[in-house]
Each structure stands twice: as C-alpha cells, then as structure tokens.
Symmetry: C2
Subunit: 202 residues, 2 copies
C-alpha cells in the first residue's frame, strides 16, 4: 500500500501473467468510429459463445464503453507484429471527434452488415453484441459480456479439432501495461485423466 | 451453433487470444488441499490490488470454488516450463479426498501464516482473500474477486518502474484449452500520447 502510484500500477498489472491483447472497434449513432486497445478480453463460455472485457469508465476506455452501451455492437481484433505499435498508440487520449483508426494508421472495415468497424489489418476479427453489463462493486470497474455474432479468420489457422493456431496468424501476447510478446509453442497436451500422464497432441 | 461440442469448445476457447495460466491452491476446513489449473485469471485493479477468476461450478473447478467459499483464502501460482505438464494434469477429475499436489507431483508450501497452500515450485506466488462473488447471468459462470494479501517473487524480476519481467522467471502463456507457450518480448512501449510515436522502453 506504500508503493508509488505508477510503480504500483505496473507491478500489480504484471501479476496475472500473460494477457490477450485486442483492438476494440466501435461507433456511435453519429457514425463516429473509435478504436482502443484492451488487455482484459477473456473467454466466458462456448455455448452460448460469450466473451468478456473489463472496462474502467473513468479512463480512456470510456469512449468504447459509451459506444457499446449506446449501440450494443463492437468488434475485437487480434494484434500481430506489424500493427502492435499502432495498436498501442490507440491508448492515447484523443478527443471524442478524432477516430483512432485515422490517428493510428489503421483501417476501418465494414462487412457482414455489422454495425461496428473491424480492423482490416487484423488476422482474427470477432463481431459481438452486448448481452450483460456487470458492475464489480470492489472497485467500480465493469465486466461487459458479449455474444459472438461473426468470426473472420484464415481457414488454415483452424486445426481439425477446432483449436486455432494463434502463432500461425501472428497474434501477440501482452504483459504488464505496455509489453508485447511473440510466442513459441511448447506443446498441446491431451485431455487430463487421473493416473494417466498427458501426451503431446501433434 | 452447428459445431460439434468439443470442436466448438476448442474453437471458441481460442478466440480471446493468449491467456495467463496459474495454479490455484486451496484447502478446506478439514485441511484437505486442492490444486487446479486456471486460464481465466485477470487483473481487476491496482488500488485496491484485485484479481479476478472465472469459475464454472459444475466442472472440475468446483472443489476450488467450494474451498474458496468455505475459507475465503486461496493462492495463485505462475507456471513455468519445468512444471507445466504437472500443472495440466491437475485438471483431471480426482476424487475430493485426493490432493492434486500429491497426484501431480507438486509441493504444498505454507508461509506468511497464510491458510492456503502455495506451489513451492512456482516462481511467482500470490495469496488472495475473497472479496466479492459475482454471477454472470448469461451462462451461470461466476467471477470471483480476490484482494492480494502477499506476493512472493525473485526481486531480480522486478524492474525499477515496477514492471515484472515474466520471461525472467519463465512464466508461460496458454491458448485454447490445452496449449502452452514460451514468449519472446518484442518491446515495451512508452505511455501513449496523441501525436507522438511510442518509443521502446529499454
């Protein structure tokens, strides 16, 4: 509790381990688009297909949050090596009437008659519709639950059992507040059963 | 919605991107210890220092959930290359009276007068006290919010601005349901400001 505020933020943000990093695309009813990087995207469930994000409405994330509440639609887009610097830049505090797509050098893409913009440069794009808004009382953050409406990715990245090879599409991992990492697969391991050592899945 | 169930689980679980992987240590009031691997640990906030996990009470995670509800205490422990196969094995459905520590070949460690067991082999150990239990109505999963009580890690892994070098302590990333990855840092980037390109932090 005696840590200096920025030290503390960097330290505590590192503790959970590696994180997903995604660009969240949204638009308000006046067609003003917004793009923001999130490192809090999580799997919630497969059936129905649900994903969650943690938002801090008093931060730079508030434009994304307002657009999602206003319209119900948003996209999540994986980040690869060639766009991570642009993605990081989307965290800057741009005024409401500036689109981070333009400011950061990324391209809005509209398809599948979906309201919110995808990031054209991304290799894995997900369209979501807001299903549930949950307040975390302990610190007034909000968990948004969205249901997957569309998924776009290269068919070659999907293995025959459904596993998506994220290294094949170049998705990066994050750590702390500002670190970006490539990954190198050690193994996939077979379904764990008592008294049976897990085997590598080839 | 027409995907076969296991294909669907592997596919949807891959979509959020890379995940943290942690071993959750707990104990019931009869001193029966439990260990389970979680890939849903997330940062919730730095002040107060809060972490979240998603649990599915109808799954193998129920023993951890019951112990946390019964006692209020649990630990999270990072996973490195030398223990990831043991960590994966903790997901097997062992009976209630078998400790996964013994069954998987990992060591219970008790310190700092904390009730729940740490994983001795882990390089980053966190002690948590349950603060809040939040139900996700959309699919009956539960978000548990815990407040950090103790943190154990090598001092050399903490950089002068508070950032923890997870590669220095060998923490792994996960993807999908069963993949384990080492990481390779591309860069840390400076705090994003409008009209200023992010610089590498050395």
């Amino acid at each position: 509790m005696q840590m200096e505020q920025r030290f503390r933020a960097a330290f505590i943000n590192s503790l959970s381990g590696f994180k997903s990093i995604n660009l969240l695309g949204s638009k308000n009813l006046q067609n003003q688009s917004n793009l923001a990087i999130f490192n809090s995207v999580m799997h919630i469930g497969a059936n129905p297909p649900l994903m969650g994000i943690i938002v801090r409405p008093d931060s730079v994330e508030r434009h994304s949050y307002e657009n999602i509440c206003e319209t119900g639609f948003y996209t999540l887009n994986h980040i690869h090596k060639n766009i991570y610097r642009q993605a990081h830049q989307s965290a800057a505090r741009y005024p409401r009437d500036i689109s981070e797509f333009n400011a950061c050098g990324l391209t809005e893409e509209y398809k599948a008659e979906f309201f919110a913009p995808f990031v054209k440069e991304s290799n894995l794009q997900i369209a979501l519709q807001l299903k549930e808004t949950i307040k975390v009382q302990s610190n007034n953050t909000i968990l948004l639950i969205g249901e997957i409406q569309h998924i776009f990715l290269p068919a070659t990245a999907v293995q025959k059992d459904g596993f998506i090879d994220l290294e094949c599409i170049g998705s990066l991992a994050g750590s702390g507040l500002d670190a970006y990492h490539q990954t190198n697969k050690l193994a996939r391991l077979s379904y764990a059963k008592p008294n049976q050592e897990p085997q590598n899945i080839e």
